[in-house]
């Protein structure tokens, strides 16, 4: 029992990270109908930004309070990663907006390769260790044993939950969110009603980038190492999560992320760790056979 609860906690932590990345995929897909393959690498870059900022703050600027340092890293990292995401959209996708459908997709793959190699060249190919932070664990007695939650895990939960709520409020309650949902449904009509569609698309990339940067910081502090190739697997998993939840649906992306995290962790815990990715993708395949538009996706039903 306590083993199961422990795995549940681990799975949800991992799932939160996937969920944060998946939102970037699902929003971009919703608004311009394109899979932003560079998003995983934006996430990887954000982990590096977080690492560099953290080392800068704690070792060179002498910030001793770890809480303050993390807060600065979080905010500055969100800003810088959002800037990356914004620039990528401007130079790699927007010029191709009038082109054929697959052009931005190819451009995204090119951008992903560029980002990967850029980081490899500038940061080196080896794993970078992050300073060990928030190592204290809380031990909760349960049954015959106990369950442990590290401060890191608690932090990941809390920050993810707060950000998701804030983000949900932006999309549902503000005029920016309204403009974004309008663009998702009918871009041309939205433009005719006075919405600046280009700016709304930029904003989508900025929000996606900012959320990915939170995931990057969490990933860096959770695993303690980052490497230039870290964007790929979490990126694909998060994309899977977005598809599983129903691509285009925001709650779907979060639920999909949590599910993928849980499946992966549970499979590693009870069966074989080597096949955890196979398990996650098999479940995706099975779900899609029975629910082709994902768990919360809206099927395109033509009213006749």
């Amino acid at each position: 029992m306590e083993y199961f609860v422990q795995q549940l906690i681990n799975g949800l932590t991992l799932g939160s990270i996937y969920g944060l990345i998946a939102i970037g995929y699902t929003m971009v897909f919703g608004i311009i109908g394109m899979v932003n393959f560079a998003h995983g690498d934006v996430f990887m870059i954000s982990a590096f930004i977080a690492l560099i900022l953290l080392i800068l703050l704690t070792q060179f600027l002498g910030v001793t309070s770890i809480g303050l340092a993390l807060l600065i890293v979080l905010v500055a990292g969100m800003f810088l990663t959002a800037l990356w995401s914004w620039v990528i959209e401007r130079i790699a996708y927007r010029p191709l907006a009038g082109s054929f459908r697959l052009a931005p997709l190819i451009s995204a793959i090119g951008m992903a390769i560029f980002l990967l190699n850029f980081v490899q060249v500038t940061q080196g190919p080896r794993n970078k260790a992050s300073p060990s932070i928030l190592n204290n664990v809380m031990t909760i007695p349960m049954g015959n044993g106990s369950v442990t939650i590290s401060e890191r895990q608690a932090l990941i939960f809390i920050v993810t939950a707060i950000l998701l709520l804030a983000f949900w409020a932006i999309v549902q309650k503000t005029k920016l969110g309204r403009a974004q949902r309008a663009c998702e449904q009918d871009r041309r009509m939205a433009a005719l009603l006075g919405i600046n569609v280009d700016r709304t698309i930029s904003l989508t990339f900025v929000i996606g980038g900012a959320l990915a940067s939170v995931a990057g910081l969490m990933f860096m502090s959770y695993y303690g190492v980052v490497s230039f190739s870290d964007g790929f697997t979490p990126g694909v998993k998060a994309f899977t999560a977005a598809v599983l939840g129903g691509i285009g649906s925001l709650p779907g992306a979060v639920i999909g992320g949590l599910l993928i995290g849980l499946i992966e962790t549970m499979w590693s815990a009870y069966f074989s760790i080597d096949y955890k990715d196979v398990a996650a993708f098999s479940i995706l395949a099975i779900v899609l056979i029975f629910m082709p538009s994902g768990l919360l996706g809206r099927p395109d039903v033509e009213k006749v």
Binding site: T174, K175, L176, R178, A179, R181, A182, Q185, D186, R188, M189, A190, A191, L192, L193, G194, I195, V197, R298
Partner: protein, 306 residues
């Protein structure tokens, strides 16, 4: 004869070719300020093409389309503007300011924002996943953005923004009452019956505060009762708002009932232009709609100019 005295829109020599096909040939007509103008004609006459040219979806092959807010279109003013290479001339740089606009030079979103021409399509293009109220609020995005200082003032709840928000809600409520959908304000727009969706689309277009509202077959697919409700709505717009209406319609009960001015097209040519009565009795229009006896074909063709 407001379309002569006080024209809001003047179309001169509009021609639109698609390859070898001339959809609209040298068409000239005016839309009077405050009028309901109907553009009618048999299928394939080029009505929607004219609409698409006016709203910037097509770039016309040649011709001039001048829209003037604030005063009648004056041809000398238009000619002066046309020779400068500018797309429009406004009294100040604010979006929505009065001025003269050369629609053939402007892209669609600019026609919508600057020249304040709103349109609907033959098919319904509501944001079906958003609520009825949201559809009306999202149409007021531009004034809200301006009042919020592009988000910054809005974040701190500046009084100016609060006022703009309250005004947007007030306008949305006003139109909800007029289309009698107040009780369904929070339902998804896609779940409304067809006739209600049609009227909601018109209300949404009105929320952008247009000077010219272009409706492409607003009565298509409506039952007689819904058709009547549509007539009432269009009359309300004409009588109580500074919005002129240009509409394409096949339903003659709507056209003859509510329009002040009817322009008839056939094969891309204007064959009649005048009040509903004069158009109804025009032999060319009758011939276009009902056909003529074989022995009169040559004579009618000569009249129509084929």
């Amino acid at each position: 004869m407001r379309w002569v005295r006080d024209p809001l829109l003047v179309v001169e020599g509009l021609t639109m070719r698609f390859g070898g096909l001339t959809a609209v040939r040298d068409l000239s007509f005016s839309v009077g300020r405050g009028d309901i103008t109907a553009l009618i004609g048999p299928n394939g006459a080029g009505k929607t093409t004219v609409f698409n040219c006016i709203t910037g979806f097509y770039k016309p092959t040649s011709g001039l389309m001048a829209l003037s807010t604030g005063g009648p279109v004056r041809l000398d003013e238009v000619a002066a503007l046309a020779s400068t290479g500018h797309r429009y001339k406004c009294v100040d740089d604010q979006i929505g300011a009065d001025g003269v606009f050369l629609l053939e030079r402007m892209p669609d979103f600019e026609i919508a924002r600057r020249a304040r021409v709103a349109r609907t399509f033959q098919n319904i293009r509501l944001f079906s996943g958003m609520t009825v109220l949201e559809n009306l609020i999202v149409a007021q995005h531009t004034p809200l953005m301006r009042a919020s200082g592009w988000t910054i003032k809005g974040l701190f709840g500046a009084p100016q923004y609060r006022q703009a928000e309250a005004a947007a809600m007030k306008r949305a409520r006003y139109w909800l009452e007029h289309i009698e959908l107040t009780h369904r304000a929070d339902d998804a727009a896609g779940s409304l019956p067809y006739g209600d969706q049609r009227r909601l689309e018109i209300a949404r277009a009105m929320c952008t505060d247009p000077v010219l509202l272009c409706l492409d077959e607003p009565a298509a697919g409506l039952n007689p009762r819904e058709s009547l409700e549509l007539n009432t709505l269009l009359r309300t717009i004409r009588d109580h708002h500074a919005t002129s209406i240009l509409l394409i319609e096949h339903d003659m009960s709507v056209v003859m009932e509510i329009s002040d001015h009817v322009v008839v097209l056939e094969y891309g040519l204007r064959i009649s232009d005048g009040t509903p009565e004069s158009v109804r009795n025009d032999p060319k229009v009758i011939a276009a709609y009902l056909g003529v006896d074989d022995d009169e074909v040559a004579q009618v063709e000569a009249e129509v100019g084929l």
